[in-house]
Amino acid sequence: MAAARKLVARGGLAGKILLFLFFISLFAEFFVPYGYNDVRFDLSYAPAVVPRITGSGIVVPVLEQVDPVSRSYRYVPGKISRVHFFCSGDRYRLLGVFLSDRHLICADAPGRISFLGSDALGRDLFSRLMIGMRLSFLLSFFGVAISFMVGVTAGLVSGYRGGWVDSVIMRTGEVFMAIPSLYLLMGFRALFPPGIPSGEAALVITGALALVGWASLARVIRGVTMSLVKEDYIMAAKSSGARPAEIFTKHLLPNMSPYLVVAVTLSVPGFIVGEAGLSFLGLGIAPPHPSLGNMLADAQSLTVIRTAPWLLMSGLLVVVLVLLFNRLGDHIRESE
């Protein structure tokens, strides 16, 4: 908890933005106007419709398709819908538990609020992005947690014991690092049937990412451990009969915690991009469940980019998240 508070305090602007985005995405269903699979077949690739303030309050104009071939839309003249706040709309489960139908913002039918535009099936891109972003956050946090547990344990044991234990652990890690990570991920993914439900797929991806991520961390932790072990206070602890577990938790980990915090923040982007990459290739989260990767995959063809360039927003969001996490890591390192 103290570490988390320290993290927030030292995170700077990037940390605050990330915290804000994480909060929004965690309660995404409340903050966004529509569900992730709320299809509107008549609004395929419809452009953004943003609420505007008029004399009669906040309203949205109503869109209508003019021509399906060119995907052109127009505002129905004289037709507007009122916008409400804290209104009831689609039903959802907040955090997967609490049943609710409250939304921060919604529009009366037939109007539709769409901050970023719609995808091929007329689903609101903004809603899908926020819900997909939550998946990216959670997946990378879980993945980082697992790879850290494995990586830190392996590194500590390896560096502390040395000898053949060190050789076995390090050589195993090098095998994982030697294989290009994308192929390792795809190979691991292939161990599971292709048609597993999205929830399970998310777990598999997390596992795969952790599998890829632990080795490089273990190497660094081993190096730090080896140099710390030679310090006098470790020698003193050893000679006074402390068990290895005590030495790990009381002496080694606290001394390398600054490094660990930086390493955590800097490894998160790898997981975000990893999920996006797998889903982009059709090996991760399957539609209709949104993920930053599979939404970007929708924007692969030239024609889609031309008709609905806003679908690239998911790629932009990946870039923004990665930059923010890198900035956060740098900031923490600088403030150490």
């Binding site: 699979n37 299809v39 077949f41 008549d42 395929s44 398709q65 021509d67 399906p68 071939v69 060119s70 995907r71 091929a120 099936l121 007329g122 790879s147 990570s181 994308l182 292709p194 048609g195 439900p197 990412l209 890829v212 991520g213 490089s216 961390l217 800097l266 490894s267 982007p269 790898g270 997981f271 991009v273 990893g274 996006a276 990459g277 982009f280 059709g282 399957a286 539609p287 209709p288 970007l296 929708d298 924007a299 692969q300 063809s301 030239l302 024609t303 980019i305 031309r306 008709t307 360039p309 690239l312 790629g315 990946v318 870039v319």
Partner: protein
């Protein structure tokens, strides 16, 4: 960062660059092209992009379009199919006579035919092709199946060097169409057949100049991954009745280049930049192509609904590992009918095909006028009707979810192939359509090979969204509709028909192939369409309009619903040339 993602980053970067190029400075992306007159009209050059390398240069072994498209310029058969109405026209044979109640066809060959190396082409080549190649059990050719009538191969014999006789044990209506198969040069390939090496001959490693054919063009160059070059065959004799384009011999073009461009996006960009003369347009590309037509000097020909169609089908196979209660749903006709009423085909056309397509409700495409049965009713989007049918069938709706009589929630896995974004979209439309009637569908996109294994070999699938290229003669659908057929997807290669209606369709296909009178034949296939429409083993969805973009310099173009825009490659010519500005 722990992991690096070169390919992903590259693709993302590509996508962003494309976006900037297209949305930011869209005018710069499309070249501005002008036409300049060209003299003389003859001897032009045609260039096209193809998606993948040929797999073989041997027409008897070729089965995918990447090979057959090229070989179509190099080889000919005894007959050819008219692109206008699918009727049979003479090609190498000048005429034929049907006798013995349809059991014997005698073909008469022209006396001046030559192979592209100058050797004479006569009945002995035809005999060699059919007897030693297509009917040879050691040759791995897909054509043999088509030439087998009632389990017996067609008998071929020579009356003289220019007269070939084909005999079947029973009358076989589609015989003339099937005899369009390519004729092969005996003087080149006979040694390979007798040495038992035919299956390895004329592979893509063969020197392209050694491929000897009788078509209007011959191959001069093949660079894997880059280009296939063809030049005119000096020994070509045009088929009788083919009109040359004014002021031009047959063939009019002097060369064709087929450039191998493995990515559909790159092909599109190349075409917009003035490279290539013909481009097969998928309806969703219309939003990009239509506004660019004038600037990039091409015309878009919309030919109406094509032959290819997409459909849903259900696993009814007792040999499959699918749970028996699920199979019981799929075996129920009312359940399948309910699905047919739930689908919003209009939305599919508007979303997936940019509004350019037709809904289809039966196994024959409306473009096949000779056999299309118009009278059957259409399955509109009617979830209420679907719910009624499901209720009658013993299903119950509980708080929006459907349960069967024994209390199982109706949840179905829908497979489709992930390479096709159109099918992935259609699958998601099906998913939300079926949600309206309480059925939960999970869409799973698989790589094509994995999908084929699941569907055809392990039978481990529940519902499938797929597409097939249709055929003009219903007999070509026998592999799909006969219960013994390998493409009888819902229950392939049955020993005996599982359902009485499958037995009826089997016997209708048998009758249809024996009946020589076109009107009676149509009646037989009408009955099949009625059964198919009622029993719905396949729920037909939509067919996209066939659209081709043709550079304005090209002459000899005539759009037809069945055969694209080129009625015969020999009639195509370049009437102008492109000037970039």
């Amino acid at each position: 960062m722990i992991v690096s993602w070169p390919s992903f980053v590259k693709r993302t970067a590509f996508v962003f660059l494309m976006a900037m190029a297209l949305s930011g400075c869209s005018r710069g992306a499309v070249a501005s092209l002008h036409l300049a007159p060209r003299n003389p009209v003859t001897g032009g050059h045609l260039s096209m992009d193809i998606l993948s390398d040929p797999k073989t240069f041997n027409p008897a072994l070729a089965s995918e379009t990447s090979s057959t498209q090229i070989l179509g310029y190099l080889f000919r058969g005894l007959t050819r199919e008219s692109p206008e109405d699918g009727s049979v026209k003479p090609d190498l044979a000048t005429r034929w006579r049907v006798s013995h109640g349809g059991k014997r066809v005698t073909f008469f060959l022209s006396r001046h035919l030559k192979w592209s190396d100058g050797a004479p082409l006569d009945g002995r080549d035809v005999l060699f092709t059919y007897r030693d190649v297509y009917n040879n059990p050691k040759v791995a050719t897909p054509i043999r199946g088509l030439l087998t009538v009632s389990g017996k191969p067609i008998q071929v014999s020579l009356k003289d060097d220019y007269t070939v006789v084909f005999e079947t044990s029973v009358p076989f209506a589609p015989l003339l169409e099937e005899l369009g198969a390519e004729i092969l040069p005996r003087h080149i390939l006979a040694p390979a057949v007798s040495a038992g090496k035919f299956n390895q001959s004329w592979s893509i490693r063969e020197d392209p100049r050694h491929i000897v054919g009788s078509g209007p063009f011959m191959m001069t160059r093949y660079v894997p991954g880059q280009i296939v070059s063809l030049v005119v065959n000096p020994h070509y004799t045009p088929p009788p009745g083919l009109q040359p384009s004014p002021g031009c011999p047959l063939p009019c073009l002097s060369s064709i280049d087929l450039r191998i461009v493995g990515d559909a996006n790159s092909q599109l960009v190349r075409f917009l930049a003035g490279k290539g003369d013909l481009y097969g347009v998928s309806p969703n590309e219309m939003s990009l192509l239509k506004p660019a037509a004038h600037r990039a000097a091409f015309t878009l020909f919309t030919r109406g609904p094509g032959l290819s169609e997409s459909f849903l089908t259900f696993n009814q196979n007792p040999r499959s590992p699918v749970a028996s209660y699920k199979r019981a749903w799929f075996m129920s006709r009312k359940f399948r009918e309910a699905i047919a009423w739930s689908i919003d085909r209009k939305a599919m056309i508007s979303i997936v095909e940019n509004g350019m397509g037709e809904p289809i409700y039966g196994p024959v495409s409306p473009s096949v006028k000779a056999f299309y049965h118009k009278t059957y009713p259409v399955y509109r989007h009617d979830p209420e009707k679907a719910r009624t049918l499901l209720r009658e069938d013993g299903f119950r709706l509980k708080s929006g979810r459907l349960f069967d009589a024994s209390g199982h929630a109706v949840e179905i896995v829908l497979l489709t192939n992930v390479e096709s974004p159109q099918r992935m979209l259609m699958a998601q439309i099906v998913q939300s359509n079926l949600r309206e009637v309480g059925i939960k569908v999970r869409v799973v996109g698989l790589q094509f090979n994995m999908l084929a294994t699941n569907v055809m070999t392990s039978f481990n699938w529940e519902m499938l969204l797929f597409g097939l290229t249709g055929v003009t003669d219903p007999h070509g659908d026998a592999a799909v509709w006969k219960s013994s057929g390998f493409l009888h997807l819902w229950n392939p290669r049955e020993k005996t028909p599982q359902e009485p209606w499958e037995a009826r369709i089997d016997s209708l296909f048998e009758q249809g192939s024996l009946e020589m009178n076109p009107e009676k034949r149509k009646k037989i296939y009408d009955k099949w369409q009625e059964i198919a429409h009622y029993e719905l083993p396949m729920v037909d969805l939509v067919t996209p309009d066939g659209i081709t973009a043709v550079r304005k310099t090209l002459g000899g173009i005539r759009p037809s619903p069945l055969g694209g825009v080129v009625p015969h490659i020999t009639q195509v010519f370049q009437k102008a040339r492109i000037v970039h500005s």
